[in-house]
Each structure stands twice: as structure tokens, then as C-alpha cells.
């Protein structure tokens, strides 16, 4: 399984659904 960063939640969820893949979200407080 390849690793692909995606910062658009909805498009990531759509891609995950299409590919049957899990999503890992890292919530952090650090500034951009």
C-alpha cells in the first residue's frame, strides 16, 4: 500500500472509499 499525503479531507475520504483504503488523520497543534 502506497503512502500518499492529502490535506483535503473530503477528496481523501473519496479516494479511500474508491480504493477500499483506511485513512490516518494526525491532529496536531503545531503551526503550519
Amino acid at each position: 500500500m502506497g503512502v500518499e499525503w492529502n490535506n483535503d479531507l473530503d477528496s481523501a475520504l473519496l479516494k479511500a472509499k474508491q480504493g477500499g483504503r483506511a485513512v490516518l488523520i494526525d491532529f496536531s497543534a503545531s503551526p503550519a
Binding site: E4, A16, L24
Partner: protein, 131 residues
Amino acid sequence: MPLEAKIKEHGAWFKRFDVPWTPTAMVLDSEGKERYRIEGYLPREEFFAQVKLGLARIAFLGKRLEEAEAIYNDIVQHHPNSAGAAEAIYWRGVARYKRTKDHTALNAVAKEFAQHFQSSIWAEKASIWAG
């Protein structure tokens, strides 16, 4: 597929998933349902074990019990000293029991906890299967 949510840029995500504290990591299934949450900092080894617990949970809930068992086994094998390994031993036994209907799979979990992770909450949960 990893996503990074920073509180200043993605405040809506924090609200959407009810995240009150950072760092928090969350494993979602392919339908976008939250299946596992990790709150607070963890060292690398423990973090990987926890993420794998999330993936195993997704397989378990999807009734892909053999796959779940394999992931739990991977955690026990590759992260043997992590707290996640204790949870993995517990759920590996449950997945095996549900797959085979063989109750001795649960006895084996209790026996394993007699050797490892005796003070963990998972050992307590498995103690009812001893004997």
C-alpha cells in the same frame, strides 16, 4: 492514506471529529467511519503498534477475521514490548475464537497473560477465560 490536520488551518476537522486535545491520531475505515483513536503523545514503537490496532479493528469489524488475526499477530511479533501488544493478544484470541468457534482459543489467551503483561487491563479482561 495519511492526512495532517493543524488546528490553525483545519479547525473544522477538529470540530467534525470532536478532537479536544493534541496530538490525536485517528484511523478511519474506507467509509470514513472512525474506528480507532489515539490521544496523547506516544513513542514511535507504541504509536505504530496502535495504528496497526486500528487497521486490525477495521478488518475485525468488517468480519475479515483472518486478516484481523494476522495484523494482531504482526503487532505481537514486531512490537512485543508495547502496551499495544497486550491489546493485540486479547483481540487476536477473540478473532481466532470467532473464526474457528473453538473456545480453547480464549483459554489460550488467558494462559498467555499468565506469562506476559500480567498487570495489564487486557490480562484482567482475559482472566475470566482461565481454567
